[in-house]
């Protein structure tokens, strides 16, 4: 296979770069070792920053966030819920921080406005009545899965190619210039080569590994962040603690759920980050101080992502002090490997800007003159798509009489019908349980796929999308993955339901002995 540019990494950055390249008419291929959003891009808050969180400590990041916040609200509105956000101070928070924040926002032209605690409580009655300062900012919640997929789908329509389950194993150079790479098809074990002049390393936490394949050193600091999902929305706005960034200081409403995050812990292990019980307890007790109902609301899942942070050497141990800004590295200049570029760090909010800067550099290296249009062109979304809420879902599926057309409801928690799932399975070459769930929301509710995943597995098998004899291992792998996220939040009603689910898989299916 031959192309101009190979992008490595199917996260937000890689997807954004692919779209940008495609819009500029550059032949490109995106390789992802697992699936879209398998890495950090699928394991975050789903927060579209206004920039205010960074205004005091990291004004450059704040400025970028603010600009991108406006752009994304224009080009990706169907996957953004413009919730607005508040910075809220409690008596125990540093008293000067609110003023610092207002000053910093003013100097960035970031529209932050102080509102009275009474007004906030009227809008968000579940918040702690102890709030003494409140600042409104244009934060929003964003669906990273939809966003990233829309980028890739548009790029594909414009001629770019995307290959999931392709792990890059070697990068070839000749006379200090990139001329191709070798990858393995994780599904078949087949090796294949791509000839290209440019490689964009957008592999996130794995970027160091990719760079080293070309002989280029790239040091990244890894910071694990854990988050907890509650099954009730509790607030309609993004809630930030009005204090320097710390654990459990951001709460983001998402569809019917609320996400509390994050922790920040320097780690060396990047595969399979798992949330710990202690982190969950810390997040919930922080969440409770600002939103007392957190303690009586059901936590349905916890998850963790690893942030790739730059500036490891300068920052020492505390990863929060490191800029959440990104780094674009031309290995032609740095390591005499022409045609290799690494784009690392950054945030979901700034993914488009990172892509623009990266492609600008590539285009210059190619000696071409095309300019970026990603800030103006709206991303394409299916027409019927609106930001998820159960009400819209009910309107769509209607009453049980109409099930003949859609098929029966397979995920009772999130009201996903057989028709929707069959369609997803048909559309994908290698659909996985996780992918089907991200796309349809099946399995995202309180039981976390405990009851519907055998049904989904059966449809995968009936649809011929998994080889005979693999259904039980696939289901078991999914259940073990699910358990990592559900185990840390297992108490009360969640534990009760889990024992029923355990009974299903062990007392009925006897899957623990297969």
């Amino acid at each position: 296979m031959k192309t101009e540019v190979v992008v490595i990494g199917g996260g937000a950055t890689g997807a954004g770069v692919l779209r940008d390249l495609a819009l500029r008419g550059i032949d490109a291929v995106l390789l992802e070792k697992e699936e879209l959003t398998s890495g950090t891009s699928g394991r975050n808050h789903g927060l579209l920053h206004s920039g205010a969180r960074y205004a005091v400590n990291d004004p450059d990041s704040a400025r970028e966030c603010l600009a991108e916040n406006k752009i994304l609200k224009k080009i990706a509105s169907p996957c953004i819920e413009p919730t607005g956000g508040f910075f809220l101070a409690l008596p125990q928070d540093p008293p000067d921080y609110a003023d610092d924040l207002l000053r910093a926002c003013a100097s960035l032209d970031l529209p932050a406005a102080e509102v009275s605690p009474a007004e906030v409580l009227q809008k968000e009655p579940a918040l702690s009545p102890k709030i003494n300062r409140a600042i409104y900012v244009p934060d929003a919640s964003i669906d990273p899965f939809r966003l990233i997929r829309a980028n890739v789908e548009e790029a594909e329509r414009l001629g770019a190619q995307f290959f999931p389950h392709r792990r890059v194993v070697a990068i070839f150079t000749a006379d200090g210039t990139i001329h191709g790479l070798q990858a393995i098809d994780a599904k078949t074990g087949e090796e294949f080569r791509i000839t290209c002049r440019f490689i964009i390393n957008a592999a996130g936490v794995w970027a160091g590994r990719v760079a080293r394949m070309a002989g280029a050193p790239l040091d990244i600091l890894f910071s694990k962040g854990s988050l907890v999902v509650l099954n009730r929305r509790l607030v309609n706005s993004v809630i930030n603690r009005c204090r320097p960034p710390s654990n459990g200081d951001i709460l983001v409403p998402h569809g019917p759920a609320l996400i509390i995050g994050t922790t920040s812990q320097t780690v060396t292990e990047i595969e399979d980050p798992s949330p710990e019980e202690e982190e969950v307890d810390l997040l919930l007790s922080e969440g409770e101080t600002i939103l007392p109902e957190v303690s009586s609301t059901r936590a349905i899942r916890a998850y963790a992502g690893v942030r790739p942070l730059m500036g490891a050497r300068e920052a020492g141990e505390d990863s929060r002090k490191i800029s959440r800004d990104f780094l674009l590295l031309d290995h032609g200049e740095a390591d005499q490997i022409k045609g290799l570029f690494s784009i690392v760090g950054g945030k979901l909010t700034t993914y488009r800007l990172m892509a623009e800067r990266t492609v600008d550099v590539i285009v210059k290296a190619m000696g071409r003159k095309t300019s970026c249009t990603t800030a103006e062109k709206p991303l394409p979304f299916p027409e019927e798509y609106t930001f998820h809420d159960l009400g819209s879902k009910l309107r769509k599926i209607g009453l049980p009489q109409s099930f003949q057309e859609t098929g029966e409801i397979l995920c009772e928690c999130e009201l996903v019908s057989r028709g929707e799932i069959v369609q997803e399975i048909r559309n994908q070459p290698y659909p996985s349980l996780k992918e089907i769930q991200e796309r349809t929301r099946a399995g995202m509710g309180p039981c976390q796929g405990g009851f519907c995943s055998p049904r989904l597995t059966a449809l995968l098998s009936e649809g011929g999308k998994i080889p005979p004899g693999t259904s039980l291992p696939i289901l078991k792998r999914f259940l073990e993955e699910r358990w990592k996220g559900t185990r840390p939040v297992m108490w009360g009603p969640q534990l009760r339901e889990e024992q029923l689910i355990q009974a299903l898989y062990t007392e009925l299916f006897n899957l623990d002995h297969f």
């Binding site: 710990e276 019980e277 307890d281 919930l284 049980p400 099930f403 098929g407 029966e408 409801i409 397979l410 057989r418 009851f451 055998p454 049904r455 597995t457 059966a458 449809l459 098998s461 009936e462 005979p468 004899g469 259904s471 039980l472 289901l475 078991k476 259940l479 073990e480 699910r482 358990w483 185990r487 297992m490 108490w491 009360g492 534990l495 009760r496 024992q499 029923l500 355990q502 009974a503 299903l504 898989y505 062990t506 007392e507 009925l508 299916f509 006897n510 899957l511 623990d512 002995h513 297969f514």
Partner: protein, 447 residues
């Protein structure tokens, strides 16, 4: 209102305890928040499928493993009840099954492998007559029949996986699959409960037989998800068998389980006919006690709440699913009497890192500690209430999910607890072996 015995909980253990006490002449009241957990079970009675539970080879006879089990796990409910009483209890349950019109075949002395909707097998002991032909050691072809729209049963997936087991020589039966496309349930939604109701009617069965007959080849057994009627499954089975000229059997399904509901209803009706009072569906029970004796329960906290008193109480409230146990972020507790529960302080240790861990899950073993009279005891081994007996899943130890022993434990502990409670009320010769004063603390070194 005074009874000899009050049973709290209407799962299999509670109903067995009520029956055992009633058959000793005790006046019995059953109090339960809901239907109990039978509708959540397969309707089969598991004995002991795996021992040790980390092995993947099913035990050929639960009975033969009991001596070793008693040695390895002296606090296992089976070890506490003892072989003799387990066998009596199982035999009693089978007699009861005959009487209520739900005969169970099999024995505690041998394991049966039956198919599951995923195409795995499940080791069990006693099966209702509707599952008799599901025994996977019976050779020959089986037609697995699914229903379009019945979400928890894919005959194709089940057949594929069962045929893999067949080709590995692990089971004798072989399988092929068909799905019935459009079946008229009189406008009702397609689910197990509605199908079971439909199968109770002869007209529906005749229509069904007409569609299915051409699909069957000579020598086929016909397997269906467990939906063969609520009221008289034996009659439904016989009718299908006669008209299709084929052996027919049911495969247990995820909840709500028709065979579980059948067993619950038939036992409920039988007990009521025998004069047992059953009160289901209240939200709170307020225990009344004096020092070391339970007097009874008020149904609610108001002054007007009715109070039920009894000489002896059987606690058969189950674990977390049943509602006998509950938890918060750092604590496990018994919900009715706050009986002591032993559990690790660190929540992480309630669970294994893997969901389907071969050694089972610690949280499935939490419960109340009991002495050999099934009386809950404190950490020093002292009886907490002299007239309280525990039965079923609320008793600690033994991971019934992993070792496949839930039904057998429910029946044997329920039967024994019911007899002991009736004995305590002066209705029989079954007396508790030790008085609370004379009971020795349990050997703590054994843990």
């Amino acid at each position: 209102m005074f009874y000899d015995v009050i049973v709290i909980g209407a799962g299999l253990a509670g109903l067995m305890a009520a029956e055992a006490a009633q058959s000793q002449g005790a006046r019995v009241l059953v109090l339960a928040r809901g239907m109990g957990s039978l509708p959540l079970t397969t309707g089969c009675i598991d004995g002991l499928g795996y021992f040790p539970r980390t092995t993947n080879i099913p035990l050929s006879s639960p009975l033969s493993a009991l001596p070793q089990l008693k040695e390895d796990q002296p606090y296992h409910p089976y070890a506490i009840v003892g072989q003799e009483k387990i066998m009596l209890a199982m035999a009693h349950f089978q007699e009861l099954g005959q009487v209520i019109g739900l005969p169970y075949s099999g024995t505690f002395a041998s394991t049966l492998l039956i198919p599951t909707p995923l195409g795995t097998y499940h080791p069990t002991c006693l099966v209702p007559e509707t599952m008799n032909q599901g025994n996977l050691s019976i050779p020959g072809p089986v037609l697995l029949l699914g229903f379009r729209g019945l979400k928890d049963f894919s005959p194709f997936l089940a057949a594929e996986n069962l045929n893999i087991l067949h080709s590995q020589g692990k089971i004798a039966s072989s399988f092929r699959a068909e799905v019935l496309e459009k079946l008229d349930l009189g406008g009702k939604a397609m689910n197990g409960l509605n199908l079971a109701r439909a199968f109770d009617g002869e007209d529906f069965r005749n229509a069904f037989i007409k569609i299915v007959r051409p699909l069957l080849k000579s020598g086929d057994r016909l397997a269906l998800p467990a939906v063969l009627g609520f009221h008289s499954p034996g009659q439904v089975l016989a009718d299908l068998k006669k008209k299709l000229q084929a052996n027919v059997f049911e495969i247990p399904m995820p909840p709500p389980s028709v065979p579980g509901i059948r067993l619950f209803r038939k036992l409920q009706i039988y007990l009521q006919e025998k004069g047992v009072r059953i009160i289901l569906g209240f939200s709170t029970l307020d225990p009344r006690k004096e020092s070391k004796r339970l007097l009874g329960f008020a149904l609610g906290f108001s002054k007007k709440s009715p109070i039920y008193k009894a000489s002896a109480i059987v606690l058969a409230t189950g674990k977390f699913v049943g509602g006998g146990l509950d938890s918060d972020r750092g604590r496990i507790f018994e919900t009715l009497l706050d009986l002591p529960i032993k559990y690790p302080k660190n929540r992480r240790e309630w669970f294994k890192p893997r969901l389907l861990a071969a050694e089972g899950q610690p949280f499935n073993c939490f419960g109340v500690e009991v002495n050999e009279n099934l009386q809950p005891v404190d950490p020093e081994g002292r009886v907490i209430y002299s007239n309280l007996f525990a039965a079923g899943a609320i008793i600690a130890h033994g991971d019934s999910m992993s070792e496949k022993s839930g039904g057998g434990i429910a029946i044997s502990t329920g039967y024994l607890a019911g007899q002991l409670a009736a004995g305590f009320a002066g209705k029989n010769k079954f007396t508790t072996k030790n008085t609370e004063m004379g009971l020795k603390p349990k050997d703590e070194n054994a843990k």
